[in-house]
Amino acid sequence: MTRSIFYKEWIKTRLVWALLLAVNLGYAIYAILRLRYVYVHHDPLLIWNSWIFKGYTFYAYYEKLPLLTGILLAVAQFLPELLNRRMRLSLHLPMGEDRVVAAHLGVGLLLMALLFIPALLPMYAVAVAYFPPEFIGGMLTTSTPWILAGIAAYMFTAALLLEGRWFARIVLAIIAAASLRLFFQEILYSAYERILPVLIAWTALTFFIPLLSSQRFRKGI
């Protein structure tokens, strides 16, 4: 049954997923080409100085894309279910309501991973060629909050779509917007290093929010 859900979700979202993959890869390629261009036209010493002392990071172009990806993927996955009133049917599958929704979210997480990893890996590979290990460490702690924001945005969007009452939707939207803003503070690289474990834990907990919305949806609250 789980495999069927995975297959159904793939059929439904593959077009949007392919578009998002193109956009994610496009941004990654742009960032890499931009880095090459900067290296061709500027002294590497200047680039390293700009990175170390002014916080220049070539991958910063990618910052908001995981957020957008998470939102669009959740919309692609759950909006058709709601518009076509298929979600109620899915919730009556014999595997149990929570497991059905969890399987849907699992598909979303897998698809997101398959969007973020192909975009991030080339950027990391290029960074290894141009910069020392300190840069790679900073890149990891700087870009992880963006990925977490994408995952949390996906969970909140799914919850908003599954939620049955407008008042609850508004409350969820406010909480989502206010929390996700905190993932994009404009400061020096590695700024999130000390709070990263808490952000990871919180993002993991957001998995339960769409499950709550689906319970309320089924009960008609």
């Binding site: 100085n49 002392f53 020392p132 909480i175 700024a191 000390r194 907990l205």
Partner: protein
């Protein structure tokens, strides 16, 4: 099913609470905070007293610490070394102060200015720094094409090609080992700027807490164990200090060479060719929260610490003997009725970016104990209204 519901509700409730603690006070203080400009304080080598200038309703007000109001001309005359250009233009510049001939070029040479902010102390900047060659024969400092990493050994990483310069790395690792440096380095400091009067090089504490000065001179490694240049008394005193932070100084006269903090937040300077350690007896200064400024001229040095609600100044002679001290309590930007109400409305306030570090963190400020009765009364009112509505139905 119940555990999912419980976990989700707890997650949402805690998130809402954290967001309220963060955005609530932020919005409150956007609305109610006031700006208070800290006074500018200088030490007068004429009156041997501090001159305080503060912004009043009709412009700058100058006064002595005894409350005597001064006009601008009087204040400038009391601070001739600070206002030299103006006094020279007006023909009021003394040629001698306290037996010292005032020569304008020497005056410029002897001026020093040091500043330390909390975010410099707690910074995420990586441990890669340029090591300038002081023996190139050029007037201006030239940027090297590599960066020094001091870890388990000395490594020079070339920016072009992102490769290790094995020869230079081995040269410095060997020279450091020979000088008694025990790897890995525990603390490293340098000034990466080329816009400075001269280059002090890199200062590094080894794993045993010994301080070394590392320089490159005509492609040669020059390593100096700082304690070796100190007097016996200074060496013993310095060995007892646990250095927690260092800031390399390159003032035009080269007197103050290193500003450092000990593990208790005490402020120290290493002064002169013999690296004489000088402790600045600041009482209120907290390095993680307050700003520090040190200024020097031909006759005096002055250290100013300023933070939320206070400014503290200490004046020294050229040999860092304490001359005078001035402290003033200042109105806080977040004070008065607004602060009292904020403490009740927000049982705790949470900031992620304190502005005092380049890292984000959880900076919690507790509110008032009155928050509890406030929210109890509020809950009772809501309960009462809901009950009244239910009865009416």
């Amino acid at each position: 099913m119940k555990s999912i519901r419980f976990t989700a509700l707890i997650t949402l409730a805690l998130t809402a609470l954290v967001l309220f603690a963060h955005y609530g006070p932020e919005a409150w203080w956007m609305l109610f905070s006031e700006s208070h400009r800290s006074p500018f304080i200088n030490y007068s080598c004429i009156s041997d007293d501090f001159v305080v200038s503060r912004v009043g309703e009709d412009g700058l007000i100058y006064e002595s610490t005894k409350g005597e109001e001064l006009d601008r001309a009087q204040a400038e005359a009391l601070l001739p070394l600070f206002n030299a250009s103006q006094l020279v233009q007006e023909g009021r510049m003394p040629t001698e102060i306290k037996g010292v001939n005032i020569d304008l070029s020497r005056l410029r040479h002897e001026r020093s200015f040091l500043r330390l902010k909390p975010e410099e102390i707690d910074s995420s900047i990586v441990n890669l720094r340029p090591l300038f060659d002081n023996g190139t024969g050029r007037v201006e400092l030239e940027e090297p094409d590599d960066f020094l990493r001091l870890g388990k050994s000395a490594e020079f990483i070339k920016a072009k090609g992102n490769s290790l310069d094995k020869g230079k790395s081995a040269l410095f690792t060997d020279a450091l080992n020979e000088a008694g440096f025990v790897f890995p380095a525990s603390l490293v400091a340098s000034n990466p700027s080329t816009r400075k009067a001269y280059d002090e090089g890199v200062y590094a504490l080894d794993s045993e807490g010994k301080l070394f000065r590392i320089r490159l001179f005509a492609e040669e490694a020059r390593i100096e164990r700082v304690a070796d240049s100190m007097s016996d008394a200074d060496r013993d005193a310095f060995a007892a200090i646990n250095v927690a932070f260092m800031s390399v100084q390159e003032q035009s006269n080269g007197r103050i060479r290193l500003l450092f903090l000990d593990e208790k937040g005490g402020v120290w300077l290493l002064v002169g060719k013999e690296y004489h350690p000088v402790r600045l007896p600041l009482g209120s200064y907290k390095p993680s929260e307050d700003d520090l400024m040190i200024r020097g001229d031909m006759l005096n040095y002055m250290a100013t610490a300023s933070g939320e609600g206070f400014v503290e100044c200490i004046a020294f002679d050229r040999d860092f003997n304490l001359l005078d001290r001035y402290e003033e309590e200042l109105p806080k930007d977040r004070d008065g009725l607004a602060a009292a109400l904020a403490d009740v409305i927000f049982p705790f306030a949470l900031e992620f970016d304190s502005g005092k570090s380049s890292y984000l963190g959880f900076h919690v400020q507790k509110g008032s104990i009155l928050s509890l009765p406030f929210y109890l009364v509020l809950a009772l009112i809501v309960w009462g209204i809901r009950r009244a509505r239910a009865v009416a139905k």
